[in-house]
């Protein structure tokens, strides 16, 4: 009998690697208010801080990611690995974890520049990709 692999949001190795990366992000950026790693189809893998986790941002981030990619497809402007929502009180950055069916979404307060928030998030996504590929 062929055993089915655990879905990403229940895979202990993915959860552990994601947890480590999000903790590292928190230490690097004091302006980080909330961050989550989610599956392409909107299941939360892990979030920081954990007490805010109810899966809602993960579901919304999944929809937003897919919608932004649909717009890019319609406009024929290539891939759209990043989504940035710049609002008055914070920046939401989300991006694909390269090579994996995962997305990292993070909320920074406005004390952070958009460039720094994007750079921090991109670095975290790349580190997570490396950690998952080498496991």
């Amino acid at each position: 009998m062929k055993l089915k692999a655990a879905p990403a949001h229940k895979d202990v190795a993915i959860i552990d690697a994601s947890t480590a990366i999000l903790r590292e992000m928190t230490e690097l950026a004091s302006s980080l208010r909330y961050a989550t790693v989610l599956t392409d189809d909107g299941f939360e893998v892990v979030s920081v801080p954990t007490h805010k986790a109810d899966g809602r941002l993960a579901s919304m981030a999944s929809s937003v990611q897919a919608l932004s990619e649909a717009v890019a497809r319609e406009l024929e402007i290539g891939d759209a690995p990043y989504v940035i929502i710049a609002s008055e009180a914070g920046h939401v950055i989300q991006l694909r974890v390269p090579g994996h069916e995962l997305v990292l979404a993070a909320l920074f307060d406005v004390a952070e520049t958009l460039g720094k928030a994007l750079s921090t998030s991109r670095l975290a996504a790349e580190k997570l990709a490396t950690a998952l590929t080498s496991r």
């Binding site: 990403a8 599956t39 392409d40 189809d41 929809s63 897919a66 919608l67």
Partner: protein, 189 residues
């Protein structure tokens, strides 16, 4: 004239397929890799919306919006239902409790049932055993005694089936609009 129709129903019912079958334009889809294989053993799932269009006449067009089937995307349900005039509810006959699923979606989208209309398409009836069409109509009659909800067995890949289902809904919406009829029934769960 334009109509805006929502395609609702549980994951795996065939909503994306139905819109692709009906649409005259290339469908805008937002599919992601499906990790929930226990719920439905398919490769991808809609996570935001599907969008297509079909022209009935030169002057009459129907905009088709498909919503994700999973409740965790309920915020998309709320966004997309606001402008909709009616709902095509698709439920696969081998859903865990297909009759209950129809009732649940009718409750969830009762505002649409009240102001526009609903038709129910039962899918996969040729591929799996399940409740009879009478089981569905009896349940709906009990739930909505003042309203006749059309229920059809359909294949979402079949344009004829889907056109019949959609046109039935459009005719109901137009008839209701023409006569100014309002649904005067209390929801009875």
């Amino acid at each position: 004239m334009e109509h805006i129709i929502l395609f609702a129903g549980p994951m795996g019912a065939g909503k994306t397929t139905a819109i692709r079958t009906l649409s005259d334009i290339e469908v805008v889809s937002t599919e992601a890799a499906n990790t929930d294989r226990e719920q439905s053993d398919k490769d991808t799932t809609t996570v935001a919306l599907d969008y297509g269009e079909i022209s009935i006449t030169d002057e009459e067009k129907v905009r088709l919006y498909g919503i994700p089937g999973q409740r965790r995307f309920e915020f998309m349900w709320r966004i997309l239902r606001e402008r909709a005039e009616g709902m095509v509810l698709l439920v696969h006959i081998d859903a865990p409790d297909a009759v209950a699923s129809v009732r649940e979606f009718i409750i969830e989208f009762f505002d649409l049932v009240e102001r526009g209309g609903v038709v129910v398409g039962i899918t996969r009836s040729d591929m799996a055993p399940g409740p009879t069409i009478t089981d569905f109509t009896d349940a709906l009659e009990l739930q909505l005694p003042e309203l006749m909800v059309p229920v059809m067995l359909v294949d979402p890949r079949d344009r004829g089936h889907m056109e019949l289902l959609l046109m039935t809904l459009v005719a109901n919406i137009e008839t209701r609009a023409a006569f100014g009829a309002t649904l005067e029934t209390e929801y009875s769960a």
